[in-house]
Amino acid sequence: MSEQIRAGNHRWLKSFNPDLQSVLCDLEPDVSIAPSRSGALTLSIAGQQIHSSYDPVREAEQFAIKSLDNVPAQNGVILFGLGLGYIAEAIRKKHPGKLAVVEADPTVFSAAVGSRDLSTLGDVKLVVGGSAVEVVGMLESFVSTTGGWDKVTLVAHPASVKRFPDYYREIEALLQARSKVDVGRLGILVATPMYGGSLPIAHYCADAFRRLGHRVDVLDNSIYDPARQQIDAISRDRRHRGTLGEILTTLMAESITAKALDRAVDLVWLVAQSPMTPRVADELKKHGIPTAFWFVEEWQLLTYWKEWATRFDYFFTVQRSGFHAELARMGVKHHAWLPLAADPDLHRPLSLTPAERAEFGSDVSHVGAGYRNRRHVFSSLAGFDFKLWGSDWENPGLLGKSLQRNGTRISTEESVKIFNATTVNVNLHSSQFHDGVNPEGDYLNPRTFEIASTGGFQLVDARKDLPGHFEAGEEIALFHDARELPLLISHYLNRPDERKHIAEKGRERVLKDHTYDLRMQQALEFIYSREARKASLRHPNHIENLRKMASDDPELTELLSRFEAEGVLTLDDVIEKIRQNSGELNDAELIFLLMHEFRRWAGEKDLV
């Protein structure tokens, strides 16, 4: 019989969840599958009962009725905890919508496959094991069939949650974040810097938030850049300039609070160099508006983040190694790595006119500021048809004949034309401390993604983070040092097919993995998975808050200590714990029992 069941289940898995066959494993000795009093099999692991020892079918039916009480019929249901499949079956019977089941433990899944006919579950989506993030990722396709993350309901099988409480809470928070972020109801205020490389990035972020469906307000502080320049002209006294600069910063920062409150935004998004003052950061915190800061600079080079990192609720970086350990040490609670990206609406292939090709085109070009290593490396490119675009190239020396427009700033639109018109776009990440390629360089600059996104061919210096982003030689071309660069330029200039292939693949990769839309989605999910937790922490029934109340009540303290997991407690959670206990009821237990009984009475009278 057992073999028949197993064979049937394998056929069923093959039809609906083929990947899971490899997850099946042998059962540990502490797994017990035995008949319950009613005859149906029941499961216990390490002495912990997963289903009723009396009647698991009835238990599951009652649980399903209770859990599905307020679930709209068209909603999808994600059940946490497969067990032996009783609850999934009961939900299947009661609920017409789609069903997915997440089982944390491959052993439980294997026990179910080996002991009960699961084929009646039909097209249930099963996810077994994996990190919380992976689980949510694996549920993507299921959720798309239900109409979105806000159209799914998470149902938790208590015995399964009890085994993996933190894992469950993490999945729950991620699902809440998905639901919040996906429905596109967020109001986001983006405050840009006045000038500099992070100014366009702030706009890319705002555009991405808009495309994701959120309500976006932009405080474009570039309008104050003339004022900033005017300040420089007002006085030669540094202190006076400093005071005036502070006033300007205060004006811009206070505008953030004013706008955020006026528009009742859910989030303030800032990038490197966006204006901020401690007072405004505190004010936003006071109003419960989370702030996120994307530090798109080198952390060891520009160290102003040190005085700001703890003031923001969320801190995103383009670098990983060492930086996050430092942030954690400083007490920054929520920080994450968020690499740069491209905006395919802007960084796109263009059909250029002959005049534009003549103006922006060349065999070789570079767009960027005149850093030390670039001056040194590019001096060897004099023999090529080489155009150098960008600012800060004072005293260009031999590079003078390559420098375009006398080193004036290049707009985003112009840079896109250059990337399109150039045969080999050289991208050397800047360094003031090296003569060639920085061997320690890790993060990828915006141009790496932007050139690839335009479909231009790119020869970039080798960076530590590159392998995770592009496949070298297939999606992007690399050079490792100054000597190699002219050789590789010559190589690729003579191989148009190879260039074309790499450029196309590079663009495909950007569209797939490196757009601002994806980055902003990731950032919002990070933020709102934690906001959900913060919201739960603010809840008066959060165990932390109840513990505070219990400080002078030893019996309540003891009762609360029986909860292993953190989170918001319900009266039912507490009653469940009380029922598991033995001996005489203590005062805290009695008080909760009273509340439970009173609520039941009030429920019968329709008073609650």
Binding site: P540, L546, L590, L594, V608
Partner: protein, 520 residues
């Protein structure tokens, strides 16, 4: 009649005086007032002790009318409801704590819980009193402590088989049975009456909490009109603001002078205005009990589910009118909606009785076609008695069952009880042996199997008799038409069920279900 369950004397807290006793009464206005005889009973039985009462917060004022109460404590149920509505566990917890802490400080010798709700059972347990009477919460459920408490619980759904008035049951539960009759409320300074010299004051409460309990306004007005023709009387109307339309209708129909206080009385003012009446007419309501407690002569019109045997005013000479239609009183929670019997209570007779009472004449029991008039009295043991053999017979049977020791293994005092306990343990061992060895006694096996679910719940529960009472109620469904035969069978059934549950309980205590499961 045999001896009753005596006062719970427990010297474990030493002989310090005064000891403190608490009554928990979380029900409504009328119930709070009717707690007075229990307070009086406890005061009489324990003259040196202090008696406290815990009531729902809005009943705090009302409880001041109970003579002999040392202090009134209140429970903020409305606050608790709000906290639970808002899902604020912290606030809800604090509200209960704030109720319990001052009670704990008093270190009660005994708690008498007169409210048969799980909520009151939890409060009872929280008082940590030395002895408990009534429903109390334990790890394994709500347990009725004291056999009269269990009796009370068992007959809640079958009131007609009780034979006892609610106050007498409360007195029995409190261990002070037979000390009744003493229903007296604190008069709260009478108001200055509007009446003129020689004018009698007749109070009327036109309303009732449910329509099937409400005698028509036309009927009350007709009675008042008849009184007005034969006496110089002022009618005073009391009631809730929601009953103003009834008062309006009455005023329209009544030809005499009306003092309409409907919707204008706090509990204190209500006591004042009712207390100075010469006569009070009402359906079965809290105000009727208030009037009786304040020594006012009353006429109660008992309709719908109201049963005078349970809830007649606890005052000698109180007059009750009720229909005698076969369907009266309405079955519990299934009242009719045609109210046909309301017209069976004759206005003429009510008016005649009212006049007699106003003149100081006696009203006698009578039964005519369609209605019955009964006058409250008390039997030789002090229990309220409305005449007729039926009630007396029921009470004597119950007293016999409850007091003779056979039924209650926990008491174990009479020899007969000891013997049956021994026999039962022998029998239990046979059952146990049978289960382990796979007995062929299929009937027994199936009986045990059938009850396994219940046994799991019962494991460790000392209240086997509580369940017996529940099962006993099921047996009542099968009662024969002949009441005397029914009573005999009840007694047997009660004993039988109690025994069976005891056995199952003991089996559960020995963890036999596990062995049983293995054997299967």
């Amino acid at each position: 009649m045999g001896g009753r369950e005596g006062p719970g004397v427990n010297e474990s807290r030493g002989a310090d005086r005064p000891r403190k006793r608490l009554i928990i009464q979380l029900a409504r206005f009328g119930d709070v007032l009717q707690t007075a005889p229990v307070v009086a009973g406890l005061r009489r039985a324990f003259p040196d002790d202090e008696v406290y009462i815990l009531v729902d917060a809005p009943m705090g004022e009302t409880a001041k009318m109970l003579p002999g109460v040392t202090a009134i404590h209140t429970f903020d149920r409305s606050g608790l409801l709000d906290a639970l509505r808002q899902n604020r566990l912290d606030r809800a917890y604090q509200i209960v704590r704030d109720t319990v802490n001052p009670l704990n400080m008093l270190a009660f010798e005994e708690v008498v819980n007169l409210t048969h709700t799980p909520e009151s059972a939890c409060l009872t347990a929280l008082t940590r009193a030395v002895t408990v009477r009534g429903l109390v919460a334990t790890r394994h459920g709500m347990v009725s402590s004291g056999h009269w408490s269990r009796f009370f619980r068992a007959v809640l759904a079958r009131r007609e088989w009780s034979g006892y008035h609610l106050i007498d049951l409360h007195l029995l539960l409190a261990g002070v049975g037979g000390q009744g009759k003493d229903y007296r409320l604190n008069p709260i300074g009478f108001s200055h009456s509007e009446r003129r010299d020689g004018q009698c004051l007749v109070g009327i409460n036109l309303g009732a909490n449910l329509p099937h309990r409400r005698w028509p306004v036309t009927a009350f007005a007709a009675v008042a009109n008849q009184l007005a023709t034969q006496s110089n009387c002022l009618v005073r109307l009391v009631g809730t603001s929601g009953e103003a339309h009834l008062a309006e209708e009455f005023t329209h129909l009544y030809r005499g002078e009306v003092d309409d206080l409907t919707g204008k009385t706090s509990p204190t003012r209500l006591a004042r205005t009712v207390g100075e009446c010469d006569l009070f007419l009402s359906g079965d309501s809290g105000t009727l009990h208030l009037a009786a407690g304040l020594g006012v002569q009353t006429i109660g019109i008992y309709l719908g589910m109201a049963r005078p045997e349970d809830t007649a005013p606890y005052r000698e000479g109180s007059v009750i009118f009720e229909p005698t239609t076969t369907c009266h009183p309405c079955p519990e929670n299934h009242p009719c909606n045609h109210f046909a019997c309301h017209a069976d209570v004759p206005v003429q007779e009510v008016a005649r009785a009212a006049l007699k009472l106003l003149r100081g004449d006696r009203v006698l029991d009578s039964e005519q076609s369609g209605y019955r008039c009964r006058v409250v009295g008390f039997d030789e043991t002090g229990d309220l008695d409305l005449g007729g053999e039926h009630g007396r017979l029921l009470r004597s049977v119950w007293a016999d069952i409850m007091e003779n020791g056979k039924w209650n293994m926990e008491q174990g005092s009479p020899d007969e009880g000891q013997d049956s306990k021994k026999n039962m343990i022998d029998e239990l061992q046979e059952i146990e042996q049978g289960i382990i060895t796979g007995s062929k006694d299929k009937a027994l096996m199936s009986s045990v199997q059938e009850k396994l679910g219940e046994v799991e719940l019962l494991a460790g529960n000392t209240d086997g008799v509580g369940l017996a009472a529940t099962l006993f109620q099921l047996e009542l469904e099968q009662r024969p038409a002949d009441p005397l035969e029914g009573i005999r069978q009840l007694r047997e059934a009660y004993l039988r069920f109690e025994m069976r549950v005891k056995k199952l309980q003991l089996i559960a205590g020995r963890r036999i279900p596990i062995a049983f499961a293995r054997a299967v």
